[in-house]
């Protein structure tokens, strides 16, 4: 049984088919890249997997259990955590408190606030924000906010982590750091589904890549297969990559 199984997933907004009959599997421990042009339905797919949107049709099973129709606040305790394309920090809370929310409410939650605070400090250290623990999230830079969002999701001890353009808006050096961070996360046996526009990064990190175009899956395979796929080159990568 696959770890995550997506079958015939559809989502329409009025007449627009944002996600149309998308099917793919994710095996435990893998990193799956989800790519495609702007508006191809990547974020919508993540929203469907996390209960932020209800699909028009289709099925999603996570560890053998149907998760369609569950309230979105039940996904994290089940082991699915996510980040947002446009970061959503708790602006008025400190960095430490931001992470503590994941610790207290996530899967396998901390026994006490004190324990949560200690473990959250470690999570902040892991993403390089140890010295920012007492700063308010609204005083952090974009890069720091992205790291914070990642730390918060990791604090919830997910088995499946969905990342929506974690590297967008970062300079090359910061993007490299983010890559290293994701490599580290993979060591801790967390399965990752990541949306990213930086082709180099996604190819370096992913075991498999799923390509969407106008809501439909047009290709799936290893990074090597994907960068040679004529249809993918045509709609997304462009001639330069070929």
């Amino acid at each position: 049984m696959p770890f995550l199984q997506v079958e015939g997933l559809c989502k329409s907004f009025g007449g627009l088919k944002a996600v149309n009959n998308v099917t793919f599997d994710v095996a435990e421990g893998q990193i799956i890249g989800l790519i495609g042009p702007n508006g191809s339905g990547k974020t919508t797919t993540l929203n469907l997997l996390t209960g932020f949107l209800k699909p028009t049709a289709g099925a999603v099973t996570f560890k053998g259990e149907n998760i369609i129709g569950r309230p979105r606040s039940q996904m994290c305790p089940k082991g699915i955590a996510r980040t947002f394309q446009i970061v959503k920090p708790f602006l008025g809370l400190t960095a430490l408190e931001n992470v503590m929310v994941g610790k207290v409410y996530g899967r396998d939650s901390a026994k006490s606030l004190k324990a949560a605070a200690e473990e959250s400090r470690e999570a902040l250290t892991r993403v390089g924000l140890a010295d920012k623990a007492r700063m308010l999230a609204k005083d952090l830079t974009l890069m720091q906010r992205k790291r914070l969002e990642l730390a918060r999701a990791l604090a919830a001890k997910p088995q499946l982590l969905l990342l929506d353009e974690l590297m967008a808006g970062l300079n090359p050096k910061e993007a490299d750091d983010a890559c290293a961070l994701i490599q580290q996360i993979r060591q801790s046996k967390i399965t990752i589904l990541m949306v990213e526009h930086i082709v180099k990064a996604i190819c370096a990190l992913s075991d498999r890549i799923v390509v969407l175009n106008m809501g439909e899956k047009i290709a799936e395979g290893t990074p090597d297969e994907i960068i040679c796929n004529p249809q993918v080159i045509d709609v997304y990568l462009g001639r330069a990559h070929a």
Binding site: T50, F52, P71, R72, S73, Q74, M75, C76, P77, A81, R82, F84, K88, P89, F90, L91, G92, L93, E97, M100, V101, G102, V104, Y105, G106, R107, S109, L113, A116, E149, R152, A153, A156
Partner: protein, 314 residues
């Protein structure tokens, strides 16, 4: 100047709080003037009412424009039960619980709809109750002669003091708990909170229930305190808007802000002898607008900025 460690400053805080409580407990023994005690009663009443509004409005970020409904429901329930022969404490508890029931009645549908429905719903609820109670109970509610003969101010004062401390203590315990962390997370960013496992609806309802409970208790204390009033009075919009203004002026979402706001507001009103409703609105309405425009964060926000600046100076 030597700097104080966090433990030291925490100890100083605790000593200061205990001292303040001791003074408040001793007050009726020392001061024999009824008018001063009556003023203190109103200060404590509004400390409770503002702090209870703040549990929902400040910590969970939901704007309640009908807190008077909870204050009034508590007052009406407690007054009826107590005058019908119930003991005071069960009557007060019943008042708080009726307020909670009313709160959930409006909160469950309004929070599901999100947006401004809650603010409008609570305002409508309190106005409907205000009119309905005015029509159904048009007679003044006075204490019976035998109660009046033995009426004492001090026990009333102590009841208000106890409820104020209880309300403040509950707010403090809440924001230092797991539940409080979830409530504040929902206030800051609902989507992110839910993505981390916090149920927004549940956490808003908890904050609402607590807020209504303490609002209802405060109303119950008013029912025990007041010699004679029209039952409609306790449902009047001024209970809501006075409490709300105190919270904004003092500092929303903090423990100390509503306390400072209430003390400032009640004492200023007394000094200016603002018994005319219009004057009251003009003065406090203007003050409120000025604070919202120029001092977001209220007095506590200003204090925070000053102490930060001082810390940088050192």
């Amino acid at each position: 100047m030597s700097r104080t460690s966090p433990e030291q400053s925490r100890r100083i805080q605790i000593i200061f709080i205990l001292l303040l409580i001791a003074i408040l407990v001793a007050l009726p023994q020392v001061i024999k003037s009824d008018s001063t005690i009556n003023l203190a009663v109103y200060v404590l009443l509004f400390v409770s009412l503002a702090s209870s509004w703040n549990i929902l409005g400040g910590f969970s970020g939901q704007t309640n424009l009908g807190h008077a409904a909870f204050f009034g429901a508590g007052a009406l329930t407690t007054r009826m039960l107590w005058l019908s022969g119930w003991n005071l404490f069960p009557s007060l508890l019943a008042g708080g619980l009726v307020a909670v029931a009313l709160a959930l009645l409006i909160g469950v549908p309004a929070f599901r709809l999100r947006g401004v429905y809650f603010a409008i719903g609570t305002l409508a609820l309190s106005q409907i109750l205000y009119i309905t109670v005015g029509n159904m109970l048009p007679m003044i509610s006075s204490l019976p002669a035998q109660d009046l003969a033995v009426y004492q101010l001090a026990p009333r004062y102590y009841l208000f003091l106890a409820i104020a401390l209880f309300t403040i203590g509950a707010g403090y315990a809440l924001i230092n708990s797991r539940l409080g962390l979830g409530i504040m997370a929902v206030r800051e960013e609902e989507d992110a909170a839910e993505s981390l496992g916090v149920s927004a609806l549940k956490h808003k309802l908890v904050a609402l229930a607590l807020s209504a409970f303490f609002g209802g208790l405060t109303g119950g204390a008013f029912a025990f305190y007041h010699v004679g009033y029209y039952p409609q009075l306790t449902f009047g919009p001024e209970w809501t808007f006075d409490a709300l203004m105190m919270v904004y002026i003092g500092g929303m979402g903090t423990i100390v802000g509503p306390i400072i706001g209430a003390v400032f507001f009640v004492i200023l009103r007394e000094l200016l002898a603002l018994n005319l409703a219009e004057m009251h609105l003009i003065v406090f309405g203007t003050l409120f607008i000025l604070v919202v425009l120029f001092l977001p964060g209220g007095f506590m926000g200003v204090w925070g900025k000053i102490s930060k600046a001082l810390a940088r100076q050192q």
